[in-house]
Subunit: 340 residues, 2 copies
DNA sequence: CGACCTAGGTATAGCGCTAAACCTATCATG
DNA sequence: CATGATAGGTTTAGCGCTATACCTAGGTCG
C-alpha cells in the first residue's frame, strides 16, 4: 500500500540503493540527472521513508525520549515552566529532524525499556530527582545521550542543563536586603533531595552572611509547591513570625499562596511583608499584587539541552558536562521596603 | 550488543518463534514448562523487544501521535488546559502499552509524513482548526485512527471529542441572567473559524433569546486569547459601553484580562460589571477576585479520546463518531448581581 | 488399523531500509 | 600502453521481528 524505496527504484529504473542515497542526500556518486529524476518521482508518488525500517537498519533512530516521572496519577507535572520547556524542546528537535517521544516513567527499569525498545538516540530527563539521575548505570543506558534538566548530579552519564539557581537566590535576597529587609524567611520544598532547592537555599544563606545577617533555621520552612500549602504558610508566618518582613520562595505558585495567606491573616503585601517568587510563570503577572520573581531563560534551557545532546551524539565530547543558564530578577509589586 | 529474540532462543534451546510467541503472550501451542523457562531467561537477560522491528514486521506499531499545530514559533500552545490533556493522554495510553509521539505540525503535509513515517496506529489532533480537520483526506491518512479534540468537523475520517461548548455557554449566561443581568457582552477569538467558539456563541444567543433579551451585535467582540487583549477589551467596555453589566468570555486568561482592564478603568468587578471565564484554569482560583468560570472534564476528555481510538483500532465501529462531555459552572467571585 | 486430530513446536519468507563491498566504463597519467 | 583514479552506479547481507505454512509424535475414532 505505502510506496517504498523499491517502488521508486523500479519506476526510476535504478537500484534501490541509488534511491536511498538520493533520498538521504548522501554526497555519493549519483549524477545530477538521475538525482533529479528520482527526486521528482519521490515527490510525485509521495514517498515517505519508514522510520522503523530506518532505525532497524541504521544505528540511529532520530528519536529522542522525553522522560518524565509518572508516579501513579499525574505524568506531566502541571508546572507551567515544565510545559514551556517541552514545547521548545519539540521545536528544536523538529528543526533537526528528530522526533520526540513522550513517556512517563513510573519505575526505574522503564527508563531502560523505553531507551532500548525504541532505540532512542537520546533522552531528556525532566523532573527527576538528583538521586535518580545518579543511579543510572552505563549498562542500563549505554550509548544514549542523556540530558537531565535541573539536576545537580555527579553522574558522568548524564549531561545537565539548569539555571543558575544559586545566583537566582542571590539576586532575590540581595534585592530584599537592598530594600532594607533583615528578617528574611525561606520557603521551598524538601531541599535535601533536590539540588535546585539546595542551591537556592545556599544562595540565600550566602547573601545573608555577606550582609552580616545571622542565619536562623526557624526562618527556613519546608513547604510543598501548591497554592494551599503556600497559603497555610502565609498564615503561619503572620501568626507566629510577625517579625519577618520578607519571604523568598522557590516557586511562583507557592509565593502566590503565601501572599494570599498573609492577606487572609490581615497582613498586606508588600506593605507589611515582601514576597519574592521564582520562575516568572505567566500567572505571576496576573495576580494582585503582581509578583516579583526570578525569571529563568526557558528557551535557552531547551536550546542548550538539544545542543548538548547533539554534540554528544556527534561524538564531539566537550569538556563541559553541564551548562548553567543565567537568570534575572523581575521586579513587580510584591517586594518593597519593610514597614517604617 | 542488545539481547534479541535469537539470543533467548539459543539459550532456551527452542526456536525463535517459540520465544516470540511466549513474549507476546500468544495462546499458541507452547507447554507451560517451556513458557516458564523462556520467561525466566527473558527476565534474566533483560530482554526488551525492539519496537522498530516489531512495527516493521507487524501491522501495528503501538505508537500514537500527538499532533499539535506549530506555526513558526510555538509548538505546544501554552494553554494550561491543553497541557493537562497531554499528560492524561500519555497516562491512558501508557496503561494500554502504547507510546506517544509528540509532533508539531507546521504544514499540512507533515501530518501525513508523521503518520506514515512512523506507522502510527493513531493520532490525536490537538488545537487544529475545524477546517484543517475537514481537509484531511483518506488517501493521505488511510487506516489511522484519528481523534480530533475540540473540533466540530464533518469529516468522517476523524473521531471527535469535545466538551459541551453550547451547554457551557448556556450555563454561564443563564447564571448571569439569573443574577439580574440584561446587557451581557460576549468576547472570544475568531468564531467563524472555530466551532468551539461558535458553539459557545450560539449558546449565548439562545439563552438571550429564551429570556427575551434582544441580541446586539455590538456586544459581541472578537478578542484574541491573551491577558493584554483582554485588558484592552475591558478598558474599551468601560469607556464605550458603560451600559454593559456582564461579560461572558471564552477563556480564563481573557476573562482575567477583562477584569484587570475594567479595574484599570475604574470599574469594579463584580460590583459594576460581572465577568465569567471558561476552562477553570488553575490561575482562575488565584486571581483577585476569584474567577467564576465554566469547567471542562479534562480527564474525561483524555480518557474518551483514548477509548474512541482504541475502539476504532479494534475495528468495533461504534455509531457515535463524536463524544461530547459535560461541563459545569464554577461559581466564584467575579459574577454578582448588577449595580442597583 | 489407517485416517485424523491435536499439542507442541520449527522453517521460511519477508517488513523497508542501510552499510559495506563490489563492479564497470571512462578518462587521465607516468 | 598498462595503471589507476574516479564517477556512477549495483549487489549482498543483514537489522529484529512477525505471519504463515509446515512438521512430527502421540493419541482417538470409526
Amino acid at each position: 500500500m505505502a510506496v517504498t524505496l523499491k517502488d521508486i527504484a523500479a519506476e526510476a529504473g535504478v537500484s534501490l540503493m541509488t534511491v536511498s542515497n538520493v533520498v538521504n542526500g548522501k554526497q555519493a556518486r549519483v549524477s545530477a540527472a538521475t538525482r533529479d529524476r528520482i527526486l521528482r518521482i519521490v515527490k510525485d508518488r509521495g514517498y515517505v521513508p519508514s522510520a522503523s525500517a530506518r532505525s532497524l537498519a541504521a544505528k540511529s533512530s532520530r528519536l529522542v525520549g522525553l522522560l518524565v516521572p509518572a508516579e501513579g496519577e499525574t505524568s506531566l507535572t502541571i508546572d507551567p515552566h515544565t510545559v514551556e520547556v517541552v514545547g521548545m524542546l519539540e521545536r528544536e528537535l523538529r528543526r533537526l529532524d528528530y522526533h520526540l517521544m513522550l513517556r512517563g516513567i513510573s519505575h526505574r527499569t522503564e527508563i531502560t525499556e523505553a531507551l532500548r525498545s525504541w532505540h532512542l538516540d537520546g533522552a531528556v530527563l525532566l523532573g527527576f530527582q538528583d538521586a535518580e539521575i545518579d543511579r543510572l548505570k552505563a549498562d542500563t543506558v549505554g550509548g544514549v545521550a542523556l540530558v537531565a534538566m535541573d539536576s545537580y548530579s555527579a553522574n558522568p552519564l548524564a549531561l545537565e542543563v539548569r539555571s543558575d539557581d544559586f545566583g537566582g537566590a542571590e539576586l532575590a535576597v540581595r534585592h530584599l536586603i537592598g530594600l532594607g529587609h533583615r528578617r528574611i524567611a525561606f520557603a521551598g520544598p524538601g531541599f535535601s533531595e533536590t539540588g535546585v532547592v539546595r542551591e537556592r537555599f545556599e544562595g540565600y544563606r550566602k547573601v545573608l552572611a555577606e550582609n552580616g545577617i545571622g542565619f536562623e533555621p526557624e526562618l527556613v520552612s519546608r513547604v510543598e509547591i501548591s497554592h494551599a500549602e503556600g497559603a497555610a504558610h502565609g498564615r503561619w508566618l503572620a501568626a507566629e513570625r510577625p517579625d519577618v518582613t520578607a519571604v523568598f520562595t522557590t516557586a511562583d505558585l507557592l509565593a502566590i499562596g503565601v501572599v494570599d495567606g498573609l492577606a487572609a491573616a490581615g497582613r498586606s503585601v508588600p506593605g507589611d511583608v515582601s514576597v519574592v517568587g521564582y520562575d516568572n510563570a505567566d500567572i505571576a503577572a496576573y495576580v494582585t499584587p503582581k509578583l516579583t520573581t526570578v525569571a529563568q531563560d526557558l528557551p535557552g534551557k531547551a536550546a542548550e539541552a538539544v545542543r548538548l545532546m547533539m554534540d554528544r551524539l556527534a561524538g564531539k565530547d566537550r569538556p563541559e558536562q553541564a551548562t548553567t543558564l543565567g537568570v534575572r530578577l523581575i521586579e513587580r509589586d510584591t517586594a518593597g521596603p519593610p514597614p517604617q
